[in-house]
């Protein structure tokens, strides 16, 4: 069982890489280099701020886009193209397929993020000419971004298990946007009454809370991160992804393939 999941994961990774996903790194590198050079000309004091803000935001956004666009294709494309037929006619359980895809996609994003991180640090070194201990916070920011990816991948798989690629992309992207404002949604829910409040609160807790993962601004200002926040975010990402994946497994288990 475990080996099958590993095989599916590595195959997913290979497909993604061959599908020229990693070319996005070139775009990323270009943006970051341009920014670093430009900023060096503009102002001496905020260049580091800009590099970190821009760099981390780009890592996050690029990754989310990749996660959505590859993730949505993972299941629905396989069903449409019927590559799934030859896989499921083997002793592979349907749930193993979902879990394997999930790890493959997440793995792709981790690798992608790793290369981007090198880019960010390179740009940082270029503008600051040295590293300070506070720069270690960037690792934490990157870790949180990866946690965001974990959630998005799980959601993309969930939507992909029952919906067409286009709809899945729309859903996943919408949830990402709403999730970024999840704090405000909960605040809004607290201000309403009656049925609306019930509905809004339910929605607010169902939507992934991405704002908690977004520490880009505070890291740019070298604010320390509370350790228990790290633990909580990790657990939250874990449980949320597990929720979405369980949903995907159940849906896929009962799906008649066309």
């Amino acid at each position: 069982m475990n080996s099958r999941i590993a095989f599916i994961a590595s195959n997913t990774f290979r497909e993604a890489v061959r599908d020229r996903v990693l070319y996005n790194l070139i775009g990323f590198a270009l943006i970051l280099s341009a920014a670093a050079i430009l900023v060096g000309q503009i102002s001496i004091e905020i260049e580091k701020l800009v590099v970190i803000n821009l760099g981390l935001t780009a890592v996050s956004l690029f990754g989310i886009v990749i996660a959505i666009f590859i993730g949505i294709g993972l299941v629905s494309k396989e069903i449409e193209k019927r590559t799934l037929y030859t896989v499921l006619s083997r002793p592979v359980r349907r749930w193993e397929f979902i879990v394997g895809k999930f790890f493959g996609l997440t793995g792709t994003l981790v690798v992608n993020t790793f290369f981007m991180a090198i880019g960010v640090f390179a740009a940082l070194f270029y503008v600051s000419h040295r590293f300070v201990p506070a720069d270690a916070l960037i690792f934490i920011a990157l870790y949180f971004i990866i946690l965001e990816f974990v959630i998005i991948c799980a959601l993309a798989l969930l939507f992909s298990s029952f919906s067409t690629p286009l709809l899945s992309a729309v859903f996943a992207f919408s949830i990402f946007v709403i999730g970024s404002f999840a704090d405000d949604l909960r605040g809004f829910a607290a201000m309403t009454h009656g049925f609306t409040r019930w509905l809004a609160t339910g929605a607010a807790y169902l939507v992934p809370n991405f704002s908690a993962f977004n520490i880009v601004s505070s890291v740019a200002h070298e604010q320390p991160v509370a350790p228990h926040l790290i633990l909580q975010n990790s657990l939250y990402a874990l449980f949320y992804a597990a929720t979405a994946l369980s949903g995907a497994v159940i849906i896929f288990e009962y799906r008649n393939l066309k």
Binding site: R93, D184, M191, Y205, N209, S218, F239, T243, S246, I250
Partner: protein, 308 residues
């Protein structure tokens, strides 16, 4: 078929557990990160920058900031905060993103100018906010009202208040009260009646709960001040007539030729103290009164949503 059911049951259980766990974690996270949404305000408090960052969705962002401003103030107020440093930036950002979000100006008029703990204690920024609002909405008479209100209530600058009310009265479809207030400023600035007119007008011109509650509490305070003053005068008259203090409230009432017991706006009876002073029964419920408190008592402005 058995396999499917087994897998579904396990996955279903996993789903329930994970969902509950993530909801719980989120709830816990909320307590820890109570001020989280406001961190950004600290870092990007330039409205111009924010406007550019909003990529054209200023209206939505303005609504979000407005929600945050309301929650910020309400939440801190509930916890008896001493300062509201972020209220001004929040309102400024809100109105920078959407200059026509009128309720934000009303909110600023009520809560930016008064000193803590009733407000942020920044009357000058409040004035700036009102003027900005007027510039962007020159035909909205309510904004002139708000401007005059701030001059009157918090800066005690009656001529400027009069000026604001007068400007507003000239706006087409302006409420007649503006003309009345402008005139009132001239002669009866310091009187209860004027203050009552203003607070009543504030109450009637808005739907916002917090602003209304604030106005009601102020009106109650005015009522108490008036009542205590009148009752105190009655005690003095009694003393002049009989040469002693009244033994009880009923005796005082009888002497005045009045029936029944005087009640404060919270329907509690006023007390006649042995030393002849008039006191309110429950000063905690009358935060904006200035008379009728026991000696040494300091009012704590607080909202009590659960009372009428």
């Amino acid at each position: 078929m058995k396999q499917r059911r087994q897998v579904s049951i396990i996955a279903g259980a996993c789903l329930m557990v994970s969902l509950a766990a993530s909801a719980l974690l989120l709830h816990h996270l909320d307590q820890v990160r109570a001020q989280a949404t406001l961190e950004e305000v600290l870092y990007i408090n330039s409205p111009k920058v924010l406007k550019r960052l909003s990529l054209g969705y200023e209206g939505l962002l303005a609504d979000i900031y407005w929600t945050r401003a309301v929650q910020y103030f309400g939440g801190r107020h509930h916890n008896d905060a001493r300062s509201y440093g972020l209220l001004a930036p929040l309102l400024e950002i809100t109105t920078a993103l959407d200059p026509h979000l009128i309720v934000a100006y009303h909110f600023g008029a009520s809560f930016l100018a008064p000193a803590p703990p009733g407000g942020a204690g920044e009357p000058d920024r409040a004035i700036q906010l009102m003027e900005y609002g007027i510039r962007n909405n020159p035909d909205d008479w309510k904004l002139y009202y708000d401007l005059g209100f701030v001059y009157y209530m918090n800066l005690k600058d009656y001529p400027k208040a009069a000026g604001a009310f007068a400007r507003g009265a000239k706006v087409p479809n302006a409420h007649p009260i503006l003309g009345v207030l402008a005139a009132q400023m001239a002669e009866h600035a310091g009187e209860y009646e004027t203050a009552r007119m203003l607070w009543t007008a504030t109450y009637q011109n808005t739907q916002d709960r917090q602003i209304r509650q604030n106005a009601i509490e102020h009106l109650r305070g005015l009522r108490v001040d008036e009542d205590v003053t009148q009752l105190q005068k009655a005690v003095t008259r009694f003393g002049e007539r009989t040469g002693r203090l009244p033994a009880s409230m009923p005796e005082l009432m009888a002497a005045e030729g009045l029936r029944g017991m005087p009640l404060d706006p919270m329907r509690h009876p006023y007390k006649l103290m042995p030393d002849g002073r008039i006191e309110v029964s429950d000063p905690d419920y009358l935060p904006f009164a200035t008379k009728g408190f026991p000696p040494g008592y300091k009012p704590q402005p607080k909202f009590h949503y659960d009372e009428k």
